[in-house]
Symmetry: C2
Subunit: 626 residues, 2 copies
Amino acid sequence: MPVVTIQPSGKTVRVAPGGVLIDALRLAGEPFEAPCGGQGTCGRCTVRLIAGDAPEPPGAPPADLPLDMRRACLARVGETDLTVFLPEAAGRAEDRDEESGDPAFTPDLSPDVLALSPLAERLKLAVPEPRPEDGLSDADRLERALRPVCGEAEVVLSLPVLRALPDALRRRDGRIEAAVVREGRLLHVVDLAAGTGAGRIGAAIDLGTTTVSVQLLDLAAGRVLATRSGYNDQIACGQDVISRINYAAAPGRLAELQARAAATINRLLRRMRQDIGLAAADVVCAVLSGNTVMLHLLLGIPPEYLRLAPYTPALLSIPPLTAAELGLDLHPGARVHCSPAVGSYVGGDITAGLLCTEMTDGDAEISLYIDIGTNGEIVLGNGDFLMTCACSAGPAFEGGGIDCGMRAADGAIAAVRADDATGRASYTVIGAGRPRGICGSGMIDLMAELFRHGWLEPSGRLSRARPSPAVAVEGRRARYLLAGADESATGRPLAVSEADLENLLRAKAAVYSACTLLLDQAGIGFDALARVYVAGGFGRHLHLENAVTIGLLPDLPPERFRYLGNASLKGSSLLLLSRAHRERQQALARRMTYVNLSHEPAYMDHYTAALFLPHTDSARFPSVAK
Amino acid sequence: MPVVTIQPSGKTVRVAPGGVLIDALRLAGEPFEAPCGGQGTCGRCTVRLIAGDAPEPPGAPPADLPLDMRRACLARVGETDLTVFLPEAAGRAEDRDEESGDPAFTPDLSPDVLALSPLAERLKLAVPEPRPEDGLSDADRLERALRPVCGEAEVVLSLPVLRALPDALRRRDGRIEAAVVREGRLLHVVDLAAGTGAGRIGAAIDLGTTTVSVQLLDLAAGRVLATRSGYNDQIACGQDVISRINYAAAPGRLAELQARAAATINRLLRRMRQDIGLAAADVVCAVLSGNTVMLHLLLGIPPEYLRLAPYTPALLSIPPLTAAELGLDLHPGARVHCSPAVGSYVGGDITAGLLCTEMTDGDAEISLYIDIGTNGEIVLGNGDFLMTCACSAGPAFEGGGIDCGMRAADGAIAAVRADDATGRASYTVIGAGRPRGICGSGMIDLMAELFRHGWLEPSGRLSRARPSPAVAVEGRRARYLLAGADESATGRPLAVSEADLENLLRAKAAVYSACTLLLDQAGIGFDALARVYVAGGFGRHLHLENAVTIGLLPDLPPERFRYLGNASLKGSSLLLLSRAHRERQQALARRMTYVNLSHEPAYMDHYTAALFLPHTDSARFPSVAK
């Protein structure tokens, strides 16, 4: 069998002739990703041949590649040995995690729901000694000790808790600390004496298609202990929800996606626990919010019917589960509550995110909520009505599908200005070091700045009429040089292609046209909106003015916008801390009206009209056109 | 390393010098048991040396063994090779299962609780097709279809059911068969479309210290499909509950006992499923009854505090569990309900067994319930009061602790008569073949007949004064020859030693004295009893008259006795079939008063007085003495 040698690591692996190169790379322990699901369309797995050949099959999608480059997801190993070189920026899963968040940040419990009433309570109990004459078992005595706290609720003792009970009650003369979670008429005892954190920690989890964020909170103090974000390991199986649904169709693949989602969350949890010195068993509850497809995949429920008319989800309201059932590295009995979804493409991330706004309050004026991610979700309404829809934006806002794109993490260009005279970029890098790539807010800035100063045409093409030293035209294609090889952290130039800019154009058109459609259906115009809440994983770097300039957000006075950041994560933290928020979310989810864009023929017209900077109808953007 | 060769199988195994011989036998795949837990006291693991030697250590308990015999649980392998011969009757786990029961037997639902209302219901549902406009998920539609059936109950969908739901609803246009189990305010959906049995099968399980019995029932028809009994695999870890509690104290041992209990039940289930052609997934619920220690062990709960004053169980009322949690080979989501216990030594087998009597009815006269097993449990009372206690009888009634003892299964001598002139035995063998051993009812008959005809003294010793060709006196010991080598199925003689008879004498004394104590506490005499219910695993062969003759049962007119057989198993079947029985059991368990014999100094006096045939106080047994 031919040997494949991988540089610069020097690893070797034997594979059968005819095998796909990417499988050989994965076999060798190179954590190689194919965001397009191995279709050869994203080009992220491109590698350089040093010796031997691995031809791509005839009929592969065309690609403008140098002669010695191959897409590993398509290239086949031949009969002879092969040496390949993996460029640093190739699709390897890098350690691109954010720094842990600010532990001093205290979630803002809105005035009307101020009381701290965490999902898991930690109770100090004194359980009386067993006596021969009373005929009470250990479980009976524990229940009696809990009775003043749990009222009418039925106490639920799981098998692991029952196994620990006899020794726990006798270790310190009946003095125990119980972690309990109330669920309707049931009171679950999760743990009788947890580890160092003694059952006072909860996890908020935002399971996004592209980015996963996790936050650990001290439930008794209402304090954030740590925050981490990272790319979803499922990206290797497809960049958006539709490609993941397709991927899940083959046998064993659903289990793989499930394992990858859990592995992503567990990796982030592990790092946070290391940072702050916690045991997994200290985390006794979690609130998990994500879109409907992500939740189906995490739960291992076939997502197929979400993709087929009439797009029916298996479930919207998810029963409480244990961490062990989901494969999450928390206390095995930790209760995991998932935010309820509204429809197949408006999920729990939205019902969680809305908790960070005032728009659902009884006396609120009509507002718009826009969550900008791989899917864009829109909510329109107030205390009286709530309409919602979702559109597919692709991963551009999270740095996906962009040659040198990355998440809003250390090394990302997060803000860009273009020089009016030369078109050259100046930029701000997260963490202040050399740039490794560009994130969503940087891409929005770049598009806005290039358009504003005339380097980008309204169609999204780089201007051929106004040459800039930063624009390289190669045949019919052009690229914008963001940073030279000498400036970048990778030693290679960072450039944005017209294809990258088109991805962003399509993404912004999808979001804006979804907003337009929802307002049309409600019979109101953008100027009637009291507030526009913008959520998304842009970190602190989104320039709302630039988002308006490219036509992503409506042209409204700046004071009407509120940028929320990762509202799904923040909402999940609020849910961990406050019973009022938990009740509010359930009520919200029930009263939202779901509009399925695939049933709305007008949506495609709106979308096409928005594939322009800022819009084909410039009257919609007076401040940009002026 | 020396090689141990095992005859007659010819197996060989290499073991380190100094290793215990029984471990070598087990390593070679000989399923060897040491009922005394490896203490060298029961002699059941005795093997014959053919070549080489394996000395028993100095200080081992004495045993009258021929020079070439060794107790495998004590003998140590030396430096040189060894050949041993395993006698057929040695402690190997034989296939001693009963024939499957009579499938035509229909459990008797008492007149007041006649309605068949099985634990698991099988519902044929027509779930409407998904429609784009209603915003309902698959789970929502299933719940709506269940609503007319489940009323106010909350529908519980487990993760496996949710995973199966999307395909199940679309396979036959929404026509599904759901197996559901109601538990208080919850309705658990166990399965949406089970295998061949389509979710209509339930299992009744009696988990005894010595014998485990399982019955499969067609829940919709109220019909028994199969019954099997076998020895509890835990016997290898100790014969009675106290020795098992001691065994469980070392690390890993509790998990071993748990696995052995589950393996015993699973073996019986597997054979029955093979007999009647069922899949494991067809069995969607189970009722399990057993004594308190057995339940602790099956659940993996440390049993230690059951043995230490004040003898407090971890729990008496066991929450419903799933088959997967317990490691039982049923439908993984099958709901397993365990009968509630009353105290540390009066378990769910008793609260189940009482359902087979009328003594707890509102208008019942005072009756006595005696469950004769390794533990003897006694209940005294009527519709107004119920007192209960337990005593340790040892395994003699189930053929344990008797040299040629066996369970009441094919090949067992179940009934014995002794010839008045010669003392020689004539006997009845279950299955009508040659005898392989003697079971509990045979031992009771034998003791009664030998005593009746003067071959046995009131002390339980074989008479030296009246020689019989069936009695062999060897020094200070004597044995009674039940069947010669030419008669027995094993080719070896079947003999009962005086030690065997002593075991039975102690067992009967323990039970009778417990009855005496309970009646004393209630201030009534035996003649005040309207009924004496006798439960136990004797099969159909218990001669009540002989049980009175040896002083096991009180001397009352025969018409007052009711022999119930395995009431724990029958009661479990009733619980599977009838909600009224399930409610009745819960009420029963709550109103029973538990008397702990270890707190009653009078018990030891009663016991000592009963170590005689029929009793030291012959006035108690006028019909025997006459």
